[in-house]
Symmetry: C2
Subunit: 302 residues, 2 copies
C-alpha cells in the first residue's frame, strides 16, 4: 500500500487558502516528500503529519516555490529530535543550492545526504519502492518522478507442501531465492505464481508535455500532473513559461492509459480550477482538480 | 500617523493558526517590514496588504524563523511588477546571508540594497521616520528597533501675520528654516511653538532583558516585545535559549513608562498566551497578548 497526499496544489506564489505544490508518500514506515516550498511544513502539520519521519526529499527543480521551505522543514525536524539521516535528491547544482539556503539553518543535528542527478534518467531504490527521476522540459533543469511498488508473486502453499521442503525454507523461495536442501535444488518458480502488477504513481510539474512523461506514465495507477492553466487562452503563456495546461496533462493521461489523473500546481490567477473540468474530461474522463490535502491509498489489485 | 500591524506572533516554528513573528509599519506611502519568516508573504496577503510597496526590510537577526520567507517575498514583489529598489538592514553577515538564501530566487528585477549594521547602535532616517537599531542579547547578533516619527512644532498664524512677511515664506519657517527678506532675518522661533511629543514605537524579540531595551522604550507609545513564555517554570529555558518571558518584558514596560505593551514571538508550546495575562498585568497593567493581524494606528497626541 502506498499512501499519497498532495500537501499543496499552488504554483508560483503561496496563497492564504492554497499551499504550494508538494506531495507526501508513505509506505512501510517511510515518508518521502516531493518538493518543499514556503509553508510546506505548515501544510504537513495541518494535514496531521509529522515531519520527523521524512527520510527522503525529492526536488523537481530549484525554483523557490519548490525549495524555499527546506530550511524551516529541516529545522523543525531537528526540533522534533530526529537523529536519522535525510537524503535529498535533485538536479545538478543541488549541493550549492543546499549550502545557500541553509545559511539560515546551519545547525541540524542529523546528517543531510544528497545525490545530484546529472543523468537524464536515474533509477534508485528506497526499500521496496523503485524511484525513477526523468528529465522534463522547464526553464531550468527539472525532473518528474515515477514510483513503482513491486508486488511479489503469489506463493502456492499446496505446491510448497508437495516439495517435502521444511517450512523454514519457504520464506527464501518467496523472496525469489533458490534453496539447496539435502542435495536437491528448489527454485522460486516451483512455488510462485505469475508476475503481478504492482503500484505505479507518476508525479510531474513545471514542464512542457514531453514524451518521457507519457512513457513513464503508461498504465500508472495515478498520474499527478501540472494543470497550471485551464483556460485555453492561456496556452501561449503556458508555452512561454514552460508549464503544462490541464488539457495537455489530460492528453498525456489518455494516451498513457493511466487509471486516474490529479491536477496540481495551479496558477494563482486560477482560484477555481474545477470550472475547467467538464472540458478536460472530454479528453480524459477520470481527471480531478485536486485540492490541498487530497489523499489516496493506492493498493495492489485483487 | 504610524500604522502598525503584527503580521504574525509565533516564534521558532510556523503553525497552521499562527504565522511567524513579523511586523509591518506604514506611514506616508512607505511600507516597512520587520523580519520575514516562512509564510510572512502569505500573512501579508491574508491581512489585506500588498507586498509590492515594501521599500524597507529590517532583520532583527538571521535565524530562519525571521528570514526564510525573504526569497518568496522578494519574488512575489517581482511578480507584482515592482521596479523601485528595496533596502534591507540587518546584522553583520547580511550580504552573505542574502547571497545564500537568494540562490533559489536569482532573478529579481529591482535593486536590492543592503546595509550591514556593524555598530552596537545605528540610527538612520527613512523620510520623516527615525529608526534606531540597538544591539540586544541573543544566541547570535540581534537588534531591537526603535522608531520615532517626529511631530513638527505648532505654527502660530497670529504671530506670523504680525511679522509682515509674505505668506509664501511661511512654509520655510514651518520647516525650521531661517528666512532673509528685505534685509531682515526671520527665524522659526518667531512663529513656532514648543517642541511636541512625536510617536515612538519599540520592537524587540529574541533577546534577554537588557538595559538598552528600557533606555529606548522610555515613554514609548507602544512596546512590542517578546513573550516567549508566560509560565514561570519556563524561566530557566528562556535564560538558556536567550529569550524573554512575558514577565520580563512587562517589567521593562513598567520601568520605561511605556503606554502600551504587546507580546509576540510565542513559543509553539504555548497555544493560549492570554492565560498568563492576569499575572503579567500585576507587573504592567496595559499589556496585551497580541494575536496575528493585531493592528493599531499610532497618532500624535491632541
Amino acid at each position: 500500500m502506498l499512501e499519497v497526499c498532495l500537501l499543496g496544489t499552488g504554483g508560483t506564489v503561496p496563497l492564504p487558502n492554497r499551499w504550494l505544490t508538494s506531495c507526501l508518500l508513505r509506505w512501510k514506515g517511510h515518508s518521502l516528500l516531493v518538493d518543499c516550498g514556503e509553508g510546506t511544513q505548515i501544510a504537513l502539520h495541518q494535514h496531521g503529519y509529522s515531519c520527523r519521519h521524512i527520510d527522503t526529499i525529492l526536488l523537481t527543480h530549484f525554483h523557490a516555490d519548490h525549495t524555499a521551505g527546506l530550511p524551516g522543514l529541516l529545522l523543525t525536524m531537528a526540533k522534533s529530535e530526529r537523529t536519522e539521516p535525510v537524503t535529498i535528491y535533485g538536479p545538478k547544482g543541488l549541493e550549492e543550492i543546499l549550502r545557500g539556503i541553509m545559511t539560515v539553518a546551519r545547525y541540524v543535528p542529523f546528517e543531510i545526504r544528497f545525490r545530484e542527478i546529472r543523468e537524464r534518467e536515474y533509477t534508485f531504490q528506497i526499500d521496496d519502492l523503485k524511484v525513477c527521476a526523468f528529465a522534463v522540459r522547464h526553464s531550468v533543469p527539472c525532473f518528474g518522478y515515477a514510483f513503482d511498488l513491486a508486488r511479489g508473486r503469489k506463493f502456492d502453499v499446496t505446491k510448497a507442501e508437495k516439495l517435502n521442503l521444511p517450512k523454514k525454507y519457504w520464506g527464501l523461495l518467496q523472496k525469489e531465492q533458490t534453496v539447496e536442501y539435502e542435495g536437491k535444488t528448489y527454485t522460486p518458480d516451483m512455488v510462485l505464481g505469475e508476475e503481478r502488477k504492482g503500484i505505479r504513481l507518476v508525479y510531474t510539474t513545471d514542464t512542457r508535455p514531453v514524451s518521457y512523461i507519457r512513457e513513464h506514465a503508461v498504465k500508472a495507477d495515478l498520474l499527478i500532473a501540472e494543470g497550471m492553466y485551464g483556460d485555453p487562452e492561456k496556452q501561449e503563456k503556458a508555452e512561454y513559461n514552460k508549464h503544462m495546461t490541464m488539457q495537455e496533462s489530460a492528453a498525456i493521461a489518455a494516451s498513457a492509459g493511466v487509471k486516474e489523473l490529479w491536477f496540481t500546481h495551479y496558477s494563482p490567477s486560477m482560484p477555481n480550477p474545477g470550472i475547467y473540468l467538464d472540458d478536460v474530461k472530454m479528453i480524459f474522463p477520470n481527471a480531478a482538480a485536486a485540492s490541498d490535502g487530497q489523499k489516496k491509498e493506492l493498493s495492489f489489485e485483487d
